[in-house]
Subunit: 478 residues, 2 copies
């Protein structure tokens, strides 16, 4: 085929994959939930090659699917199976750290750099790149930026968006926007960077970025608290914010069932407090300066919380080993839930002040669909981002009639409650292909129309990652 031949001429044979066995890891997502054919996959090494690839795709009216580490949770990075099979543009070979400026606190990277590589390079220069998430060993920064990834650093450092100063993007017409500004202030027209961040490959292909670095924290303090209701956790959060300001770097909420699943399913985990049957909070402070001052602050706030009756038990980690052990419980969550049964994960965020109401109302709404259903709850409470997980044993789920319909009704019930509190159905995972229906349901038509106008202005042929982010326009019924 002419297009594939042109790619081979442009990139050399090893950079063009067409055989099914070579494409397997790129046409299916890592959880094995989505799979569809691609025309081929190409692996450019330079921005100029990406631009040339795009121009060829445009000339052949063939869809373009940018792919990073293929770790999307929403089917955003694999072919959709609708329309013409796309060309997958895998950024894997573009993994150069172009430069690092410790005085300006910035680094310039290729989009294909793995997140962990970037974190390591920053640390080697005595700096922190604060975006951190479960997939960091394989996800690529271009994908993190394209989806505005969240993770555990958001409370203190913001989302990926807040840690990007500039971008290089190959546009849908094959031209290159060099927006690699490394500036803290720049008020010269529309902020295009923020438009590409979170656009999930529908407006262009991010090929490079200027990242913002931070001072490397030299002190940490971690505590585990038992509270008897999310409202009390919220009150404790307020105490920490008032006393610690940006030193508060994590405030994670888990319910008793979540802790129990981790203890049952993941070897070597221990509950840090005596009583399991309560709500649990992991709180972390981090700072430059010495650890002793930070430990004192942690102790002081914890005493305030105990005196105010907000906390029924609390343990401060006394060593690096104890800190790690506490985090291991939190990080055991995904493995435990996967082993224990079927959880219908949600990714809602609501205003922080409404988290307790959200939990109560959403649980009630789901139990109106399936009475007495248990919930696993784990969330970044400081961000208002709660993963409320209605949870089935494998046997219950197998025995359930009309599972798809039930799952759909359960998700709708949770998202409807989030929406009624002016929250969102996708806090950190993005839209991808799985949530375009939610876009139609929850977004005001005016907002959807603006997004469609942007898409039309940037990608009039509609070739970039079609079927993602935006719902198809409503079908006229005349």
């Amino acid at each position: 085929m002419a297009l594939i031949e042109a790619f081979r001429q442009l990139l050399g044979g090893t950079a063009v994959l067409t055989r099914e066995e070579d494409l397997a890891g790129l046409t299916e997502d890592w959880r094995g939930r989505f799979r569809a054919a691609a025309l081929c996959a190409v692996m450019p090494s330079t921005t100029e090659q990406v631009a040339a690839i795009v121009r060829l795709c445009v000339a052949h009216e063939t869809p373009v699917l940018p792919q990073g580490g293929n770790t999307s949770l929403c089917g955003g990075a694999t072919p959709s199976g609708q329309g013409k099979p796309p060309v997958i543009v895998a950024l894997t070979r573009m993994r150069r750290i172009r430069s690092l400026d410790p005085v300006n606190n910035t680094m310039v990277v290729d989009a294909g750099c793995v997140l962990a590589t970037i974190q390591d390079a920053a640390a080697a220069a005595g700096r922190l790149f604060p975006v951190s998430l479960g997939a960091e060993g394989s996800c690529q920064i271009g994908g993190n930026i394209g989806t505005n990834a969240g993770g555990t650093g958001v409370l203190r450092y913001g989302n990926t968006r807040d840690n990007v100063l500039g971008l290089e993007v190959v546009l849908p017409d094959g031209s290159v926007w060099d927006g690699l500004y490394a500036l803290r202030k720049n008020n010269t027209g529309y902020d295009l960077k923020h438009l590409f961040i979170g656009s999930e490959g529908t407006l262009g292909i991010i090929t490079g970025a200027v990242l913002k670095l931070h001072p490397l924290p030299t002190a940490e303090a971690v505590a585990w608290l038992a509270v008897d209701h999310p409202q009390k956790a919220l009150d404790v959060l307020g105490l920490f914010q008032a006393s610690c300001s940006t030193r508060l770097s994590a405030f994670e909420l888990m319910n008793a069932k979540q802790i129990r699943l981790v203890l049952e399913q993941v070897p070597g985990r221990r509950c840090p407090v005596a009583e399991i049957d309560t709500w649990h909070v992991l709180v972390e402070l981090s700072d430059t300066g010495d650890a002793a001052a930070l430990a004192t602050t942690m102790q002081t706030v914890l005493e305030q919380a105990l005196e105010a009756g907000l906390v029924s038990d609390g343990v401060v980690a006394a060593s690096e080993a104890q800190r790690k052990a506490m985090w291991l419980v939190r990080h055991g969550v995904s493995e435990a839930n996967k082993k224990a049964g079927v959880g219908l994960t949600s990714d809602t965020a609501v205003p922080v002040s409404t988290v307790p109401a959200f939990i109560d109302q959403a649980m009630a709404a789901v139990r109106a669909v399936v009475p007495d259903l248990p919930f696993v709850i784990v969330g970044h409470m400081g961000d208002g981002n709660i993963h409320l997980i209605p949870f089935f044993s494998f046997a219950e789920w197998e025995a359930m009639p009309e599972r798809d319909t039930v799952a759909q009704r359960i998700r709708r019930a949770m998202n409807d409650v989030a929406s009624s509190l002016r929250g969102t159905f996708s806090a950190e995972h993005g839209v991808g292909r799985t949530l375009t229906g939610e876009m139609s349901r929850y977004k005001p038509p005016v907002e959807l129309a603006l997004m469609q106008a942007v898409k039309q202005a940037f990608d009039p042929q509609g070739l970039f990652n079609p079927g993602r982010v935006l719902p198809p326009p409503p079908i006229a019924t005349s």
Copy 2:
């Protein structure tokens, strides 16, 4: 005229200004540099009225000029004198604080709220709204957002953009986008909010906003340092960042001439260090927690800087009165410069690491235009944002032949150097009408084309603040 009559019917007579004497404060900017006719000014009280006004303007094909506190430094908020005289939409009557949520750390405000009113309301609730700038007693938050205002809080808290979570905007077709989300995380499609922030009224009228609040600092430490070169100031900045992280809330650089002008022109100001003929740095730390710890930190870093030979003298303010006295010197800058002569202010930003090179190179470039010209220098060094001010006495300036040409060549010389260091010609003041030529000169055509595409998508009739931000498309020469 039909349009004015329709406004009177819609809003009542007192909300429609047409007489020249009533319009005087709205058709001329506060510095008296720009003045042109408007068709009329309207003062809506509600978002619905703004929407109705826009629909009437569209029907009459009449330009729309949103106006806040009219404190633009770039002629962005007053009529341009080109094309049809616009309708000024003054947001003055929309000054309600709609709500404040101390637990979510957000407040929702009308766009016409004066910035100082917002700061006060936040403080009354024990919270900080960190945007702070010279015009805060009269500028309105809608204008701050429309221009992504900078100011003295940027080093720690970011630009206005970083302190806005949601927007309500009346669009160029008269519809209303209710994007008043109060969420820390929300990955559901393109981030439209960031497109409106900094768009200077060319894409719609901001009528309301959700603002991000922070813990109110309870401790402050201020010091005044003498350094013999900007490079040493930069090294000191690095020490403070490593030790203090986000506690560093200001790092302001001034040269000897700037200090001398303040002492000469503004009564009651004193230089905090013995020697004037040096470079000066005002550094501020702020934090929650107690002041003693912060004072110790300040003292420790200062000793490091003295030992390393980076600082030739340094004074830590020992009282609130001394802290204020130091800030009064910094805040005396505008008044002093205005009284002392004619300064051709620039608003460049460059990567922080290149500030010393920028100062050296830009001074040399300007002195190639006017030999031996003195410079006043004052800047937010921590942001890379230096106001380099070639300075004339009134007599010299009066005697200068072809002043406009000289001024233009001087500005170009400074901006060319900033551009060569990958910096910007407008760090915090915006583009308005005065800098559209710089947009043509310094922005890559690809970037301008994307901005034009956005403008076309949002405002196809081109009625919103025409002639601002974007340069006119090049005239075809065939």
